[in-house]
Symmetry: C2
Subunit: 154 residues, 2 copies
């Protein structure tokens, strides 16, 4: 059970972009350099965050990425699910309805209790990630962090 390796990239890039001055942007190349990441792969993943509305992309000589919403309106779940982590890790293939022990269809109108419990666990995971916003993350950073990020990336 693995999330894409780019999950870490994008959690950090979104946190970094949330620290820039209003209106400031950073290009995929700058962000890749900032974290020593493969630039083309990162650019592709940043576009996934744009499609999800987490980031906005501007073009032109001063173009790049900035947050698409206020930091208090972006949750960790928004980011994780935008880059391929949206599906439940448990796949129910209804094996209860196959083989010599197959249950008749009329007894399977309700979802299997095992699938229900696995779904509940996934929802607990989602709820946990939805409870933290980028604004919360910024609050937890040391005082010097924002100034440092702006001077290194701005």
């Amino acid at each position: 059970m693995k999330l894409p390796v780019s999950t870490e990239w994008l959690l950090h890039c979104a946190t970094t972009l949330a620290q820039l001055e209003p209106g400031a942007t950073a290009s995929a190349a700058r962000l890749a350099e900032y974290y020593d990441l493969p630039a083309a792969a990162l650019a592709k993943q940043l576009q996934a965050l744009v499609r999800a509305g987490v980031l906005a992309a501007t073009t032109g000589p001063r173009g790049g990425f900035r947050l698409g919403r206020r930091p208090e309106d972006v949750t960790l779940l928004d980011i994780v699910e935008a880059v391929g982590g949206a599906a439940s890790p448990y796949e129910c293939r209804e094996i209860r309805q196959q083989g010599k022990g197959a249950l008749p269809p009329e007894t399977c109108r309700d979802a299997c209790v095992l699938a229900v419990k696995m779904h509940e666990a996934h929802q607990a995971w989602r709820t946990s990630l939805a409870a933290t916003t980028l604004a919360d993350v910024l609050t937890s950073l040391p005082e010097w962090a924002v100034g440092r990020t702006r001077s290194k990336l701005g």
Copy 2:
């Protein structure tokens, strides 16, 4: 983010074995037939549940698998983690310490807040799965289920 496909197999097999009469066993071949599953692959996975203490294996002509503990002492988490689902889906590679924006080591003594939040979500998932035992699952089955399972598999 995917759990092994065998997760469904083993949740069902353990639930089924929990319904047998005390002392009764079922072989991997019988269980494979019961759910129309690949027998060799299932046998291997059942051994993982034996190593975790969820199942016990007996040998001899009447040998096979039975529950290794009381149904109230086996949680869904025990089963899911026994078959390869134990690692957190999020991998923190400490990218905060690499590239042009690399944080100095002395500022990274505490875990990254993003890794902490991803860990908390994984713990919420684990807590949810640990809250349901096989005894709870049996309680939720219709009245006729245990008799049917015993007659078909016993």
